[in-house]
Amino acid sequence: VTGATVTGETPESDEVESVEAFARRARTWLATHMPRADDGLGGYKAVLRSDEDELAHIARCRELQRMLFDGGFAGIAVPRAYGGQGLTAAHQSAFNREIGGYEYPADTQVPTLTPCMSVILEFGSEEQKRRHVPPILKGETFWMQFLSEPSGGSDVAGALTTAVRDGEEWVLNGSKIWTTGAWWADWGLCLARTNWDVPKHRGLTVFMVQIHQPGIEVHRIEMLSGSREFCQEFMTDVRIPDALRIGQVDEGWTVVTRWMYHERTVAGGSPYVTAPTGRPAVALDPTSGPTALVPLSESRGWLGDSRVQELIGEAHAITLIGQALTNHIAEAIRTGAVNDQAAAITRLWYGTTAVRSSVIAYELAGATAVAWSDEESGLGQIGVRFLMRQSSCIAGGTTEMARNAISERVLGMPGERRVDKDVPFRDVPRSPPARERP
């Protein structure tokens, strides 16, 4: 193999490259160009990064994404006109099978590539796609979801952030919350209410908003783990051009329905996510992984205890079955055996089993997870993580919402009684104003 044949350039012909040939080409390219990953499962490193480290990490993700782009492996299933490779979801899956063991831009994937880029690709105008997708694939822009609001996370259609038209511009006012990394990210995909006089689902519109501009104040939220990655944004008279509107005015709910679908595919099945097969795009907690539990239990002389063995085995079974289930559901959706709402099954799985894994790790860590020395900070992290246990069932849509989706959209059980459906949104009862600006 000469240097010239491993540049990763897509073959000239118009015929779609076979998945097998593509996989071979990817294998060669990865071996030559991508650094090997530190698997991150061995030790109990503290998982919190300093701001400095976080920025360095993001810079590294930008670099890695750029390497994929230059090699011809960014946006594998994205049309060439928008900077992608014009191949298929099967090619992306093949790439994900090959990339195990290599460094990859883990933080570019979610929410930048999906759901944000997925939504732009699906609803953006030709011009919007040509303008906004290539910088994403090159690692130049990171996107965040301006979706949840302090008034309620699951009731997305109840957004109170308001956009009022003023000539060729829109004026945005309101607040968004739970945007990871908004303090360093570039763009937000923002849901806003453009009509208060129609029922809630019919008065919404989606906009693309540059995060760092006059009128947007980004406040960092401190979580129980000490993490300050989640942000809340306060928008005051933010003016944006109509060219940044995605989809039709007042028809944002159509966009959001697909947006939330793409969000559910982050656990597996998205044609745009680059991540090693079997590993969800959202990073797992390395301190509670089954591989880490073996040395942990061994160090305390517990490995011979059948109860401990059962817990370790359960954690490992959860990992193996999660991979099997992710592929099983993705395949069923792909072949049309089930509708795309079945992605909620995978979401429910990762939420509930992460809780279980956290319980197991906390139990095996024992009292050291409550009070620890510097040398034991890995075990301390298991405790800190346990405080945050429910996050897997809340973030990205609660497991209660996933259960609704499974029962109503997959199994056809009756929907809940709605009091907010056929009345103007301004007449729908709502909570008193939440969270004051700090």
Partner: protein, 378 residues
């Protein structure tokens, strides 16, 4: 559950129709607690359909529908679960698989064809009485004698033990394990029928008190059957997984339909969010069980290195959540779900019976931990 080839679909459909006709729930209720739980000629006709031959290599008289015999067999087991079917599917297949792979020419020419044709019934005597009842623990001893081997110890519970013609007995001989093909009429072997939960399956305890068996009854090499026993365990558990998936499917579909048709306080049960959320959890357990079962069957069929890992992950999960699913289905049915007249118990019995046999869910989790620890040590 699995992606099926056209041939597999056709085959599965034939088995399904046969089971629907031969052993509908009303028949199962009549057969409950009688003899071997099968209608006359049921097993021989099933053997004609191929039920006994999929785990046996072709050169030993076996065969497959898809060239992936274990996956074909898993489809049969799935249909058995879906119909709570009676019959020695487990025992006859395990014994036939062992003879087909490791049997002597005489065993392959004599006993194996009888098993393949459904004329004789096999049973696997693996598990032992407490305190030696953990997965993989074998204390029954085989001591070499002038005329063969002397067996000392007990096996229980042995599925199909009261009706089997041949037992595959797993024994410890010195440092390793040995397997013996022991006919049911062997003098000095005591067969005691047991009470059991399954409606149409029988179980027995076997006691060997210095029982003499011929040297020719050895299956494979003496003291070297460890890997064979592991493989047979993985095969047996794969069949259990597929069968439990079938029973779960029946219970889930039936219960979902029930929630639509059963009205309470003027509304169908299906309209209550508390019911919907439980059904959603059950749906997740069901799909996860299908997913890992398909993976396990594929790994066993291909004899992959991760075979035991996937099988044990499956047994841990399906054994635990399959039981939960069935019990939750009973709960959603209310009192009627606890009656003999409702069909649900036929499937509940099947799943709760499969769950602890050939290793409890907890023991399989421990087996997984053991695999991880071995990997870590490497």
């Amino acid at each position: 559950m699995f992606t099926r080839s056209a041939d597999q679909q056709l085959f599965e459909e034939t088995t399904k129709k046969y089971l629907e006709r031969a052993v509908p729930p009303a028949t199962l209720r009549e057969l409950a607690g009688t003899g071997n739980g099968c209608p006359p000629d049921f097993w021989r006709q099933g053997a004609e359909l191929g039920w006994t031959s999929f785990a046996v290599p072709e050169d030993a008289g076996g065969g497959s529908v898809s060239e992936h015999g274990v996956k074909d067999l898993a489809l049969v087991a799935y249909q058995f679960g879906l119909h709570a079917a009676p019959g020695p599917l487990m025992g006859s297949n395990v014994v036939a698989a062992a003879l087909g792979r490791w049997g002597s020419p005489e065993q392959r020419a004599g006993t194996l064809p009888e098993l393949l044709q459904g004329l004789a019934i096999g049973a696997w005597a693996l598990a032992e009485a407490p305190p030696h009842d953990r997965l993989g623990e074998i204390e029954l001893t085989a001591t070499e004698t002038a005329g063969g081997f002397r067996l000392e110890g007990s096996k229980t519970p042995v599925e199909g033990g009261a009706d089997a013609d041949y037992f595959l007995v797993t024994a410890r001989s010195g440092v390793g394990l040995s397997q013996f093909l022991v006919p049911a009429d062997t003098p000095g072997m005591r067969v005691t029928p047991l009470h059991s939960l399954d409606a149409t399956r029988t179980f027995a305890r076997l006691d060997f008190e210095g029982t003499q068996v011929a040297g020719a009854s050895l299956v494979g090499d003496a003291a070297n059957a460890g890997p064979a026993v592991e493989w047979l365990t993985d095969l047996a558990v794969t069949m259990q997984l597929a069968e439990m998936c079938g029973a779960m499917r029946w219970a889930f579909d039936t219960t979902l339909e029930w929630t639509f048709n059963r009205y309470s306080f003027g509304r169908p049960l299906a309209s209550y969010q508390v019911i919907k959320h439980r059904v959603a959890d059950m749906k997740m357990w069901l799909e996860a069980s299908f997913a890992i079962t398909a993976q396990a069957a594929e790994a066993v069929d291909g004899d992959r290195p991760d075979r035991s890992e996937l099988v044990s992950a499956g047994k841990f999960y399906v054994g635990r959540y399959g039981v939960e699913l069935l019990q939750d289905c009973v709960q959603l049915h209310g009192g009627i779900g606890l009656t003999f007249d409702h069909d649900l118990h036929l499937f509940l019995r099947r799943v709760v019976t499969d769950a602890p046999l050939f290793g409890t869910p907890g023991q399989h989790a421990a087996r997984l931990a053991d695999i991880l620890a071995q990997e870590a040590a490497r």
